[in-house]
Symmetry: C2
Subunit: 348 residues, 2 copies
Amino acid sequence: MTQPSDKALVPFVSVDNMMQLIHHIGVEEVLKGLAGYIEDDFKRWEQFDKTPRVASHSDVGVIELMPTSDGEAYGFKYVNGHPKNTSEGLQTVTAFGLLADVYTGYPVLLTEMTILTALRTAATSAMVAKYLAPKDATTMAMIGNGAQSEFQTLAMKAICGLKSVRLYDTDSKATEKCAKNLAGLGLEVVPCATPEDAIQGAQILTTCTADKQNATILTDNMVGVGVHINAIGGDCPGKTELAAAILNRSDVFVEYPPQTRIEGEIQQMDPDFAVTEFWQVVTGQKEGRRDPRQITLFDSVGFAIEDFSALRYIRDHIKGTDFFDDLDMLADPDDPRDLFGMLGRAKA
Amino acid sequence: MTQPSDKALVPFVSVDNMMQLIHHIGVEEVLKGLAGYIEDDFKRWEQFDKTPRVASHSDVGVIELMPTSDGEAYGFKYVNGHPKNTSEGLQTVTAFGLLADVYTGYPVLLTEMTILTALRTAATSAMVAKYLAPKDATTMAMIGNGAQSEFQTLAMKAICGLKSVRLYDTDSKATEKCAKNLAGLGLEVVPCATPEDAIQGAQILTTCTADKQNATILTDNMVGVGVHINAIGGDCPGKTELAAAILNRSDVFVEYPPQTRIEGEIQQMDPDFAVTEFWQVVTGQKEGRRDPRQITLFDSVGFAIEDFSALRYIRDHIKGTDFFDDLDMLADPDDPRDLFGMLGRAKA
């Protein structure tokens, strides 16, 4: 075997190494750390190349590439969305991502992102809730108890001081799984039999269901004044979770309007429906919550910059650890013009 | 360490394994095989999702994603283009690629593509020359003797019966390197001191230079009747190699017009400059060479479908071999909704 040069080796974080790294740091610490990286990147939102994700749709799902760059680093995520996968024993969403050096074009990190996406999505929700949720919010209704639910809950605990979560899912087995996973992590966990029960006393309402359809997980009369709605599950064309009347009563905050108008809850509304770009709240250019009776709504679809933040976080945190392998992924001959010669010399 | 399931493992072809696989099959056999896969995909061109590449430009280069899908498989390539890299001891172009199953969204192959791109670019040129070059073309002028030059030459030998190559580069060291690499491979190799010398007696003129500028590698008076021009190096905005007058005298064949009009030689021409989509020549809908005095010009910029063909080829040819490793890249919990539980169980 020929020996690749250092430049040809790309650090790779496998699923197992990602899990070990997370436990090494601590799940809540990782969520807080990610929220900090994401907040930092929201503060410099205008520095990024932004583009709606590049999607390839089929009858059963979608495969997407989500690239962005801050001029120094370039990142992209590969992610699929296949709602029917669950019934076949597969993940609805799997993902991996890559970070590269803009100056050389050489990749500098390849990592699993199925777990990392779950973490960054939760960290984003909690970072946003820190700005928008009512002061002293301590109770969240978690509607939809699938793969994202525990991460959402822990992030709200770690970042917003959540003390109690009220769980509801159309499938009680999902609620049982979520409650079991959250047991002993320092939260009151209350399984509920109906969505109406779940929202009792909750200042934060998180919806995260998986069906690809225009559903009404929250009806208008379920949403009282002063709450913060964290809507995660409306994230592709034809998939929404909230009654349109709720949107009309809420101040709606989004990541990147051109993408959210296609994929988010506001796909139900007119193209000029007023929204606030959340990064402007972080920079102080726009107000977040200004009134205890105001309903705030984070219409989250996930954006490439959040993945970029997560990739930066992992790049910085694997340094000096053993939680990665070096992948021989880039051909790097001694003489850059002599690719053929390198191939020839490998014959021996 | 937790044991990932089979579905979570993605076959990965490293640079070293790619080189070993190529030698196992034989370089010329690989070039012929790739040309066959590419030709098959050009025949079913209309079945593909096609989009111009997704580019992120900086002052010193570009990073691109090139996705496509035939409805069953989805492929994309990551590729950078940094002309200044050579002077810093790095590759101008590095690449890797991925193939996924459209039905599940799960990746099924990750592979280095720096070497594979060099092979598929050469295989495409030769497959096209088979249709467009004059009958019994036996001599090629190879102008630009960088990383692509030996691959172009060998592909023309393997697929078109080339017997003699005439080399020219502004840097004589590049010509020496190319001549040395081609020695003993069954071709007459003639280093030339000027481009005018290189084109003497050549029926195929291949230009493949690397400077990012509008250069004139071939002037109008250098191009006689009846030749086939294989223009490889005009492949990004602001980078061309041919005098516009040559284009006016030629029948121009392209891969995907929306991309070629931005990146190819025809970026110099009006937006309605007449071109033939080469796939229509393969299917018989359009004529290729129809006259021995005709000048044919393949204005090649590289297209995602060629990478897709190359990925299919590698997927099919690593089966039953040891030329790949399994990467633990996809989180795949027993219960797809229990990602958090999988993470928790990894703590032990």
